[in-house]
């Protein structure tokens, strides 16, 4: 069972940060995963009064507060218009509406979970995170941050630098953890594929060899092979590494073909 001795609603980020410096204290996100631990902790620090549950949009970026629920990013119109429903597709298979109303974006990103659909889509969009103490940093750098760093995730920033993004995942059973997650995006940083639930944390593979300079079926196949070769796969109770590698190849191909066919449609229009 999971116990803690005290519950405090922080009045400011400074207060929360100070409280969080004690090893026994923790920040309550959705508490869905934290609750599964068998332990006793000190103080639960809740940031729900600090107004971190809003999604703001300006010309250059989206700023998603750490306490925005997964259901909010699923139903938010401007986010889904920008990503062609990739946000909704990425979270719609996570358990159910009740669960997604509780689970937070901040909790999903901070946890750096291997199974995370959320991490996959945000990495494919070249997102940044805003930490209270460390400031704004690329998600690619954030994932390398040691887990002993006790900072507070304030918001996730999605720069408007992506032209197209497609999200796909494979599950053994609907609402289960994914066997593999895949997001392919095309934008300022070129084409990239992010593969997660391998079962390690989502990793990007950039088209650094310019395979997709011409998008023929053959090059799509080559890029899918390239991605599968550059990702580390592992085995667990859901699937073997070999199976994941095959699925990775298929998902990358499907995602790329969707991007190509949408581009063609736009050109015709």
């Amino acid at each position: 069972m999971f116990y803690y001795n005290q519950y405090i609603r922080a009045k400011s980020l400074e207060e929360a940060y100070e409280l969080y410096q004690k090893r026994q204290n923790f920040i309550v996100g959705g508490m869905l995963w934290t609750k599964m631990k068998n332990t006793t902790l000190g103080t639960a620090i809740d940031l729900c009064e600090l107004g971190l549950d809003g999604i703001e949009e300006n010309e250059n970026e989206f700023r998603i507060g750490a306490y925005v629920s997964l259901r909010d990013i699923e139903t938010n119109e401007s986010l889904n218009k920008y990503t062609d429903n990739a946000f909704a597709n990425s979270v719609k298979d996570i358990v159910g509406v009740q669960f997604r109303n509780v689970a937070t974006v901040g909790g999903s990103i901070w946890g750096r979970y291997g199974f995370s659909d959320v991490m996959t889509i945000f990495r494919a969009l070249g997102a940044k995170v805003e930490l209270f103490h460390e400031g704004i940093m690329e998600l690619d750098d954030f994932v390398k941050l040691p887990r002993t760093v006790r900072d507070i995730l304030v918001s996730v920033i999605v720069p408007k630098e992506t032209e197209k993004v497609v999200y796909l995942s494979q599950r053994n059973q609907s609402t289960d953890f994914p066997v593999l997650t895949c997001a392919v995006s095309k934008g300022k940083r070129g084409t990239m594929a992010v593969i997660g639930a391998t079962p390690y944390m989502a990793e990007p593979v950039y088209d650094s060899e310019n395979i997709l300079s011409v998008t023929t079926d053959e090059n799509i196949e080559r890029f899918a092979d390239y991605v599968a070769k550059n990702i580390r796969f592992g085995s667990n109770m859901r699937a073997s590494a070999e199976y994941r590698k095959i699925i990775c190849n298929v998902l990358v191909k499907r995602a790329l073909k969707t991007i190509v066919s949408e581009n063609e449609k736009e050109e015709i229009c």
């Binding site: 803690y4 519950y7 259901r71 509406v97 609402t175």
Partner: protein, 173 residues
């Protein structure tokens, strides 16, 4: 720790343990429809409406519900009555254990989307697990209820009529 929660429209002031979960608070105040099914946040049995949104009370610290409105099935009786008869007619409540969670979530679904398609129903209710039925009877009963409000829509759907295209991928295998 002291909390003030509006539970089913009634303000309740109580002194609770800091690590109490909302589910235990509801049950302490005689809302026994809220149940623990899986303890992992997956089954939807403990669904309550917090400020109108369906949430898993098994994962919410009671402190977070402080100052907010929580509705359980006990407080949604009038709204639920409209369609629970259709559930009974289809035998959708077999052992009945999952039903309160189902009904609370359906109330939320119908408030958000009064005329959902079959696909939208399936998607919205995917977080409610039922080990007796196989979900067809719940879907049929909800479809019957929704059709009853429309003119010339088929009623009393049977298993063969409804859901012919659900799970077609594996039916053909």
């Amino acid at each position: 720790m002291e909390v003030k929660i509006t539970l089913n429209g009634k303000m309740i002031k109580d002194t609770v343990d800091a690590d109490m979960l909302l589910i235990d608070f509801c049950r302490k105040h005689k809302c026994y429809s809220v149940k623990r099914g899986c303890e992992t946040g997956n089954c939807g049995l403990c669904t309550v409406l917090m400020d109108g949104k369906p949430m898993l009370s098994c994962s919410i610290p009671v402190g977070r519900a402080d100052g907010r409105c929580v509705d359980t099935l006990e407080g949604l009786e009038e709204e639920a009555k409209k369609f629970t008869g259709y559930f009974a007619m289809q035998g959708a409540d077999q052992c009945g254990f999952c039903n309160p969670g189902y009904i609370v979530n359906i109330v939320a679904l119908l408030r958000e989307n009064p005329d959902p398609t079959d696909e939208e129903i399936l998607e919205y209710l995917s977080g409610n697990l039922c080990r007796c039925t196989g979900y067809q009877s719940q879907l049929r009963s909800l479809r019957n209820y929704l059709n009853s409000k429309k003119e010339n829509a088929p009623m009393q759907l049977e298993a063969e009529v409804f859901g012919a295209d659900i799970g077609k991928e594996w039916k053909n295998e």
